[in-house]
Symmetry: C2
Subunit: 536 residues, 2 copies
């Protein structure tokens, strides 16, 4: 039995598997395997609709096993690929042993990843927007922020952070996210008795001087006008530089207080592709020839966002679904031709156009050279994407959700995912408090880089409380453990004086470890003794 | 401004708030507050349908803010109640400070909790089934088990664990869960190329000798027949005694290998009620008079599963939604009467009947003394509960989901929730391996109770590998750290020889802590040195 192995469950991988199922029909000695982290395919164009719940939470994804009836689907992360021994190694499942799949032909379509490394605080505090889990998390986070704003009536600073929503990236993805987010927040805020709609800020940060660089300036200006009219602030010509748990920091130094920061940029090469010793372009995409074979190999193929596919005019293909699905069909055809010893065909597709939804019956589109905006573009958007959604079942579900959405109010259920049970990194900027004297202790911290000071309020001669600095903390030092060991409120404030990264361990976790790991508690006590003060 | 504070967002709390909104209309100086952990109300009778995805994942819950337009909803856990100072303290939100709400009248409706304490291994390995998160987790877990069974073709032992699903508790809740689970698993298994439907086992464990003790023996026997016909095994007269990560252990000592164990029992008093110094019955329910006031108080009321409400024949009310909603209306009326200085009315409701769905157009019902089973009961079930579902929007959504379900195949999307990032407890029974020589290391363990041995395979004289015990481990000892520190495969097998509980720390977590907490790594190295062997 010979085997074609496809890595990736997005547009490239899934459509390649579908095309191969047709192409290889009748060839009994060939099997197709597809490895994907999730057991479903995400229909990216409709993902932003999950934020507002316009469509059911799982309606924009299709189970792989329904789409691919003749493919062996392995729902596992891929850990490594060996092009010499022709194997793909998947992560372990319930048993801790590697799962190795041999291949005769390999199709690479892992896509790109959102990689915030190098941007201070973004890995810890920015929300990506790429897969279904991201969309659900953003949705839950936004509802949580509204719930808390409704309760925290007398803390204007916290309210401002809770009611400000920032999206970075003004391409199609960022614009669609900010439009959905803005509509949703402003719509449901009316249900919160203590939120004044005028308190809500939604900001789109974009590095260029106009949004939607993918389309003509006219359409970009149209989209900007629509967004502004609905209350979205545009911060143009600005880049996101850093983030903390309570603010977004732009490269001109301005600080936007916020608890909700979504970044749709940057797309980085997938670590799997990164680790492969195959020819790559400067920006880390695989170099393939016009027939989509990776340079230097006859049985390794690549498509979609991970590959740099040449077009007839010399520029590489843009990373869109319409290109990936056509590349997928060509790869199936060319693998068929290789098996039959026939000639390969080159990739030649110009693109049909571009569309982006602005929500509320509004969109922009460039199709066959025509610029369309407004209701007609929105109608086209819905019709075309509904038709492209794979599977009749999904189409029916989405169409029925859209119909119900016309008469029903938006969904407001917060699915609490409770993800961060363990230790996490947190980033703080100068002047920011890690915790404040008198608060309850819920975490212990280890300072990894940067500097903080320990301050306490003391009554002064005049009766006014003044702050007094008790100690300065540097890398390697722990703080905040007393409140956990003793369950008393924080007896001091810890404030960042130099941008810092800390390891933050939740109370439950620290309790479990301190009670059971012999050296841990002692180690904290030594640090406290060195510091020479009873720490907060 | 005077305040009525309701604790709990289930049938009792939400219906009390709704009734109070009507009762107090026009009384401008009274405000109603409701505290709930979730921002939605779960319509329990339809919760099992989330397992199979017959209804949309959020269709069986209603956002509290839509149901309660004139109530201040606080979406927070309640931490404590002080009946002397008349305050309710909620858990902190983003800022670590307590949130205290004063009350003039208090309505207690926190319900019960699933408490597995005292049952070895259940807290770690059994899935509860009470709220939406539980239903989603069970659903995802079941799909994960099928995905893994499809991959793990050559490990019959693991396949058996993956393809066996055990539900404990044969009351309405357990029967509805096992019926949905069984239908779903057997239905979707056909999509998995390497799963033979005959490999699937679904087991219902129940302590009594017949299921559905709530209804007549005839209906119970009918339900048992239907379940058996669909492939559910009934383990009657048996109790669940313990659980490990790979088995359910019954009180007659029999072991069912399984990775999926759901327990719908036991319901224990809510910790909040436990902590209150109020009169309680032997089983921890609050003692209230016929007007639903807690004994000894004129401004503390209780209803639903947390209260023992006397009926005219002396027996306490059963814990059902129909009783809770009627108690809720009476409490509103009686609080109104108290404010107006009028006489209180006693609770007097006999119950209308009982219904339980068996899935696939089948149910059992006892209504007005009539026993009904089969399609008619199922039709009644759907009609009555659809009418009871609060809000027209939900009814429309559920009705449309049910209509689509007639033509569409069941949903198969696995929502990965990735919850266990931190340290967790795990339970092992004698003979069970914690890990096996040669596996990859993904966790480090601290033995809290019980005993384990470290064994290695060595070639013997005859060339056959024999096992040799190298060490015995007891409480306080760590193992498994070498594979993490060095990234080598496990160099020995660790096997439980006396039932044990361990603290299990994932690789990522251990790495973060070992790199940054000064004493931690040293402490592990000391343990290793004491043990006198290079540990696995």
């Amino acid at each position: 039995m010979k085997r074609i192995v496809i890595v990736g469950g997005g547009f490239g991988g899934v459509y390649a598997a579908r095309a191969l199922e047709r192409q290889l029909r009748g060839l009994e000695d060939w099997a197709i395997s597809l490895l994907s982290r999730e057991n479903y395919f995400v229909f990216q164009p409709m993902l932003p609709e999950v934020i507002s719940g316009t469509v059911g939470l799982t309606d924009v994804v299709s189970p792989l096993r329904r789409l691919l009836r003749r493919t062996h689907v392995h729902v596992r992360d891929v850990e490594s690929i060996d092009v010499c021994n022709q194997t793909v190694t998947a992560a372990p499942g319930f048993r801790q042993r590697p799962h190795v799949v041999k291949y005769d032909h390999l199709v690479l379509a892992p896509g790109t990843v959102t990689d915030f490394r190098g941007l201070a605080g973004l890995p810890e505090h920015a929300l990506p927007f790429k897969n279904l889990a991201d969309a659900l998390e953003l949705r839950s986070h936004v509802i949580r922020a509204l719930e808390e704003a409704d309760i925290e009536g007398d803390d204007p600073e916290l309210r401002q952070q809770l009611l400000t929503f920032v999206v970075a990236g003004g391409g199609f993805s960022g614009v669609e996210v900010v439009a959905e987010l803005n509509d949703f927040v402003r719509d449901v805020a009316r249900l919160y008795r203590r939120i004044d709609p005028r308190e809500i800020r939604v900001v789109l940060v974009h590095a260029q001087d106009r949004i939607l660089p993918e389309v003509s300036p006219k359409l970009g200006a149209f989209a900007a006008k629509i967004l502004r009219r609905r209350g979205v602030e545009l911060a143009l010509g600005q880049r996101l530089k850093a983030a903390t748990g309570e603010s977004a920091i732009l490269d001109d130094g301005s600080v936007i207080p916020t608890k909700t920061l979504v970044s749709t940029i940057p797309a980085s090469p997938h670590p799997l592709v990164d680790a492969l010793a195959l020819p790559k372009t400067k920006n880390g995409r695989l170099v393939v020839d016009a027939s989509l074979r990776v340079q230097g190999y006859t049985n390794v193929w690549a498509l979609g966002d991970c590959a740099s596919v040449p077009t007839s005019d010399g520029t590489p293909c843009p990373p869109t679904a319409q290109h990936a699905t056509r590349q997928a069909r060509l790869i199936a055809e060319n693998i068929g031709a290789t098996l039959a010893g026939k000639k390969l065909r080159p990739f030649d597709f110009k693109g049909l156009g571009k569309m982006g939804s602005l929500g509320r019956r509004n969109a922009v589109a460039e199709i066959f050279g025509l610029s369309i905006s407004g209701f007609l573009a929105w109608f086209l958007w819905r019709t075309i994407y509904l038709a492209k959604l794979p599977g009749w079942g999904r189409r029916l579900k989405v169409a029925s959700s859209w119909a119900l959405d016309l008469v029903l109010a938006p969904e407001l259920v917060e699915l609490r995912l409770d993800r961060s049970a363990g230790a996490v990194h947190e980033h703080f900027e100068s002047g920011q408090n890690v915790f404040v004297e008198g608060e309850l202790g819920d975490r212990v911290y280890i300072l990894l880089s940067g500097r903080a000071e320990v301050v306490r309020r003391r009554p002064s001669a005049g009766g006014v409380a003044v702050e007094q600095v008790f100690a300065t903390l540097g890398p390697g030092e722990c703080f905040g453990e007393m409140a956990l060991l003793g369950s008393a409120p924080r007896n001091a404030t810890v404030r960042c004086v130099e941008p810092m990264t800390v390891l933050s361990i939740p109370k439950r976790e620290f309790g479990l470890l301190a009670a059971n790991v012999p050296g841990l508690r002692g180690s904290f006590e030594q640090v406290m003794a060195r510091r020479g003060l009873p720490p907060s």
